[in-house]
């Protein structure tokens, strides 16, 4: 665990995944949190917000991962990581990023990003081109965050993905995870400032 990297006594990371309904960001958050819990050492809580309708609309998923015994307030407040899959989310939540917080956007769906140090990656396009379906973009993002942060081993991430999908969908999602993990891993240096 890169607790020490955090240069804090204890470790807590707040992640928000935001976009629109149907992009699978609640699943992504769930898998991140599941992986954390499966480590056996970390605590995690995942929450989400719905719009006024029971289905559809904007979608937002918060994941807090920590080695505290308990995570009290379960929603993200100051974001360590924000993943924005659409413009609205980018504008709405960027202000909540910590000073050294990491902004990750889908470069196709959030074309105009002011923040220079933002990480831009074509999640959805990559999903389409490399795996043949845009639906797995969310799992690329999971892998990406996994690789970036390094706090969740690839093993638990794989386990979390495997146990979250039916047989038929597993392979594609594991592949997506792999891709994301690899690309994300290139940005680990950013974690130092967090």
């Amino acid at each position: 665990m890169n607790k020490n990297k955090q240069n804090k006594e204890s470790f807590k990371m707040e992640v928000r995944l935001a976009g629109s309904g149907g992009q699978g960001l609640i699943t992504a958050g769930m898998i991140l949190a599941k992986a954390a819990v499966l480590t056996g050492k970390l605590n995690a809580v995942q929450t989400q917000s719905y719009g006024p309708e029971a289905r559809g609309g904007a979608s937002r998923s918060d994941v807090i991962i920590s080695d505290y015994e308990q995570i009290y307030y379960p929603k993200a407040r100051k974001l360590d990581i924000l993943l924005a899959f659409n413009e609205e989310s980018y504008y709405k939540y960027t202000p909540l990023l910590k000073g050294a917080g990491i902004l990750i956007v889908d470069e196709k769906y959030v074309p105009e990003v002011k923040e220079k140090n933002a990480i831009r990656f074509p999640f959805i396009t990559t999903a389409k081109t490399e795996i043949g379906t845009p639906i797995v973009a969310n799992i690329i993002a999971v892998g990406f965050i996994g690789g970036l942060t390094g706090i969740l081993g690839k093993k638990v991430l794989r386990e979390a993905v495997t146990t979250s999908f039916k047989e038929a969908f597993r392979k594609k999602n594991l592949k997506a995870l792999e891709i994301g993990y690899r690309v994300g891993g290139k940005h680990t240096e950013r974690m130092k400032f967090l």
Binding site: E53, A54, R55, G56
Partner: protein, 274 residues
Amino acid sequence: MGPKSPIYDYLRYKKKFPTVWCPGCGIGTIMGAIIRAVMSLGYDKNDVVMVSGIGCSSRMPAYVDFNTLHTTHGRAIAFATGIKLAKPHLKLIVVTGDGDGLAIGGNHFIHAARRNIDITHILINNSIYGMTGGQYSPTTPRRAFAYTAPYGNIEPDFDVVELGIAAGASFVARTAVYHIIQMGKIIEKALKHKGYSLVDVISQCPVLYGRLNKMRSPVEMLLWQKEHTVDIKVAAKKSPEELEGKYIVGIFKDDPDMPEYVSEYQKLIDSLKE
């Protein structure tokens, strides 16, 4: 400015569109058919009241430029009863889902039918609870899947038409979203009918019912409707075996002579004046 077409005069399109409904959901198509029926009957929008309960289908009133009332789950017909009785000249259109109209709302349905009060009830029958995310309803067929019927539904479904007739409605019909022209005509007749008019419209919920029951697209579901419906006139010539698993569509009952509740009440008032 927005689009110009007579139908848009009947929509709150500036405020509310696009609708909340999922892609390919049949509710919007039915809404179009209702509006076109109202248009062709030339009703004044001020005289039309649309009342709904709670559910995906019950979101319809928000989109149409009538007097619109989105009530509680299952009770739309009872609210409509109060409105109609208090202001008899208003035209009451009630839209309900199958859960809304037949599960929690079943009692108001049979009693309004019994009273034969002049209300048009469009029952948007997608065989599932849409709004709450896919639980089985009183019209989910046996063996079909739903989130509360993960092993296949063991409950038989209502024959809505038979139930409506037995309860006392004076106009009872069934149609399907696929049968777009028939649907329009039937809704128009239902609106014109004086008395309780029930239209059971088979509709598609592609994201919940469809996905759970291996119908992957709205188009596939519409084609299913085509294949599983038989017109009442054609059905008359078929054997029960041939009709097994089919839904008969058409007008089953259309009796203009049954006493209508609000008129009967008016007669009572008049008789007391004498």
